[in-house]
């Protein structure tokens, strides 16, 4: 255990983390998986800590996952669903930060529609801030659970070929995965219609496939991103039906793959749009494992960030006798 792998106060994204820090979280998540298998799914590690789930965007699965993680660590949780009004979004965030500070909250899990919101909050309050998704910027705990799932299935991440498929332009999950995967030595590619791929992505060391068939030919793992109805409404693609016909991850396409491909999806799935039901429910899908790992990874993150003063590192190394 060395100081370089400690995480600092906040978890806002993977872009500036070191590979050691990422591995620390994955390694710490393993024992937490076991906690979720116990008859009493609770350990007292975060007893007495107050955690606020501050969700400015509607989200059921991520919030529930965090809530389970918090409660299984014996923390006290408060859910705040604040819908950001268009006029005063910025004002709301600053005032919210000040109010949380005044209430002496220990940790905040924040999801917000503006990129940079988690960092904005983390710079203004002493509480630990965990990014549960900020705008199109990052969703670090999702990427971490994706990495853990890949590692469990393949035994490693280095050298694996992972392709992110779909609306990469608007996806914070894609960005976080990109950082995490490249830092741990995987080869990363993106695949989708050109209207949904971000500028400059090749400069980040990422391959670009214009057709799903090329991606399937190449990849060991496909992480299929959710396509939002909005994209069709804003004109990025003509219709969901065409998207499925051209880019859908279907059994027929996968049958032509040179090797078995692990299928992942951050959820919730649009069955019949970006992914076939038979693929999502098939033998190579690890989508449900992602969900299980999600709670463990979030427990690991909360555990690693909570409290703790750096000066007392030695006691940790030797353990109490």
């Amino acid at each position: 255990m060395n100081a370089s792998s400690t995480l600092g106060k906040d978890l806002t994204g993977l872009e500036h983390m070191t590979p050691d820090q990422i591995r620390l979280i994955l390694d710490t998540a393993e024992p937490f998986k076991e906690v979720s298998e116990r008859p009493i799914k609770k350990v007292p590690a975060l007893r007495g800590k107050t955690i606020v789930n501050l969700f400015f965007e509607a989200s059921t699965r991520t919030r529930i996952s965090f809530e389970f993680a918090e409660k299984r660590l014996s923390a006290d949780t408060v859910n705040v669903a604040a819908t950001g009004s268009s006029v005063s979004k910025g004002e709301t965030l600053v005032d919210t930060a000040r109010n949380l500070e005044a209430m002496r909250i220990d940790m905040v899990v924040i999801r917000h529609p503006s990129s940079g919101a988690a960092e904005f909050l983390g710079n203004r309050i002493d509480s630990n801030v965990i990014n549960a998704g900020d705008g199109k910027h990052e969703h670090p705990t999702q990427a971490l659970l994706d990495l853990l799932t890949i590692r469990d299935k393949h035994g490693k991440i280095e050298g694996l070929k992972v392709c992110l498929v779909g609306d990469v332009l608007h996806s914070r999950v894609a960005r976080s995965n990109l950082w995490g995967l490249t830092k741990l030595g995987a080869e990363v590619a993106v695949c989708g219609p050109w209207t949904l791929l971000p500028r400059g992505i090749e400069e980040l060391g990422v391959k670009v496939f214009g057709r799903i068939e090329e991606a399937i030919e190449w990849a060991d793992v496909l992480n299929v991103l959710r396509l939002q109805l909005e994209r069709m409404e804003k004109g990025f693609i003509p219709s969901l039906r065409e998207y499925y016909r051209v880019f859908g991850v279907t059994t027929e396409r996968l049958e032509r793959a040179p090797k078995a491909i692990t299928i992942m999806h951050p959820g919730p799935m649009n069955r019949g749009v970006e992914i076939d039901s038979r693929v999502a429910d098939g033998p190579h899908s690890v989508i449900l494992d992602q969900v299980t790992n999600g709670v463990a990874v979030r427990m690991a993150v909360l555990y690693l960030l909570a409290g703790g003063r750096a000066e007392l590192a030695d006691a940790a190394k030797r353990g109490s006798e």
Binding site: P31, E34, V35, D314
Partner: protein, 183 residues
């Protein structure tokens, strides 16, 4: 100019043979305490307690011809100092063999000192079920209790000060069997 670190003074408390003899005696005492192996379960505390529990289980197996269920317990998440310790400690494996109800669980650890580890282990164990009895078996009791906790079976007792450390090495992890007191 900083002073050079004080040289460590190592005094060997148990060498390999002494440790082996102690473990053999502890195995016998456990059998007496548990009245045989029928409802006996050995739970080793990470990390060296796990290795010692494995040795004791083998000794019991050899003498009784019956396998003893073994478990491992990592008490990190139940520590009472998690809020103040620095970078978080690594969490080891926890594995409890089956249901503990109506079992006699014997906790095995290498050193008993303040008693806080055992306190954490008791809390954690009871989250897994309700054994009919829990006993404590340690290789070394070094005194210095901060909680009202005692071991039922002790390999070796020694009185030590706060400035001393008891270092237990086991073949499986450290390459040799030895117990030293370090000042």
């Amino acid at each position: 100019m900083p002073r050079p670190p004080k040289a460590e003074e190592r005094t060997t408390l148990l060498d390999a043979r002494a440790m082996s003899r102690a473990l053999q005696r502890m195995a016998v005492e456990i059998l007496e305490l548990a009245h045989g192996t029928d409802d006996l379960v050995l739970i080793g505390i990470q990390r060296r307690g796990v290795e010692l529990a494995a040795r004791i289980a083998r000794l019991i197996e050899q003498s009784e011809g019956a396998a003893v269920p073994r478990g491992a317990l990592d008490i990190t998440l139940y520590r009472d100092d998690l809020g103040t310790v620095g970078p978080k400690p690594v969490i080891g494996e926890t594995h409890i063999p089956g249901d503990l109800t109506d079992k006699h669980a014997v906790i095995v650890d290498d050193v008993l000192y303040t008693g806080r580890t055992v306190r954490a282990a008791l809390d954690e164990l009871t989250d897994f079920g309700r054994p009919k009895r829990i006993s404590l078996c340690v290789l070394v009791d070094r005194g210095g209790r901060e909680l009202p906790i005692q071991a039922d079976i002790v390999g070796k007792s020694v009185k030590t000060g706060r400035d001393e450390r008891v270092d237990v090495q086991v073949e499986e992890l450290d390459g040799r069997d030895q117990v030293d007191v370090i000042r």
